[in-house]
Subunit: 216 residues, 2 copies
Amino acid sequence: MKNNSSHQKISVAVDVLLFTIEDDKLKIVLVKRKEKPFKGSFALPGVALRESETLKEAAERSVRERTGLKNIFLEQLYTFGELERDPRSRTVSVTYYALTDPGKLDASGADDGVSLISVDEILKGDPELAFDHREIIEYGRNRLGGKVNYSDIAFEFVPKEFTLPQLQRVYEILLGENLYKANFRKMIAPLVEETGNMLTGMAHRPSKLYRRKQNN
Amino acid sequence: MKNNSSHQKISVAVDVLLFTIEDDKLKIVLVKRKEKPFKGSFALPGVALRESETLKEAAERSVRERTGLKNIFLEQLYTFGELERDPRSRTVSVTYYALTDPGKLDASGADDGVSLISVDEILKGDPELAFDHREIIEYGRNRLGGKVNYSDIAFEFVPKEFTLPQLQRVYEILLGENLYKANFRKMIAPLVEETGNMLTGMAHRPSKLYRRKQNN
DNA sequence: TATCATAGTACAAAATTGCTACTAAGTCAA
DNA sequence: TTGACTTAGTAGCAATTTTGTACTATGATA
């Protein structure tokens, strides 16, 4: 850590990958760029880091300015610093990933110009994104897949009260493979408790509603 | 990602946690600061990011300038951006961790002012480090512990030819717990192959030397 | 009221992990 | 030269976890 180069020409940006699951698909919030370069292309919501805010605060601001969401799950992902990432100037981008259930996102009153796009489609190349944002999303997608197994991130994608089939579907989408119902329930049982309510009106047998167990 | 703030007051540093295992202890390379602030304290080796280099290149440069080492294992750890990290100016520090076996480090002809310090001692608070470097090392130490189980980082701490007891010791130090010999060998067997050589002159039964299997 | 589709449970088979106890081999002291 | 010592390496069983199948339960719908 030195400060010998007194005139700094390197910009610091904070970009956010805001994931949610809707219609059984992993999706991400993108914004349509209104300026060059990549005018009209989709890009990750991001901000320039201010001197008076921490990295995480900048990430929270980015989410809030675009979607109105506050207090959602947010963790640092990776920092990208290739030379030609941004044609305007040398920019280092610290990325965060945020998770939310689609209900909160709908209710939050997001900007125009904010879209929810299927991550699978993006990774196939459609639509093409601005900057290196497709690669960033690919990296984030892989991280999510890894994190499912040794953390509780799956809960971030469902409402406070949820059914086990719902939660299992989240696991399956994040892992990209189907799970055995019986095994899934054994695994998840210590983490949840019944609310006493049922999810009815769905045709067929209704399922019990659970909530996340707090302590433990 | 915006560039509306044309005069950038935020510095970008790249700091490296260079770990090795020596005398059955996890150690880290620190340098003694020659300037204020924290003059005389130990700190992580770091550099200011140059406009013409990527983050990883800066990390490599930091390792090379201090220790002479090239081509060692290097991965990004985390980016620290609290407001008061550096009393001189707002500094975002992108950190990398590097791993090496102590043999390479000895042979590389490191600078004066470069020390190998026990990580356990540092985490206990002795010696006290400059900036927030103790917290960074704590974060890196935890990451190492987690990574052992689902990656091959342990191999980075041993020479090209190694014995299974040596490798097991590395696992034990990183995990902080003892492993059963028989299980360890079953787990590691698919990853290694015998070289045909033995490590002799050690008193007691000599052990076979192995190398890492390449493909697979 | 029977059928359908999904919710939820019981339980065996297979694989892995945890653990103990053994045999093997070189050094060193007598 | 030999036997004790200490570490290297292996065999194998017990306990647990994971994998998988097959069943029963329940409300909606026709």
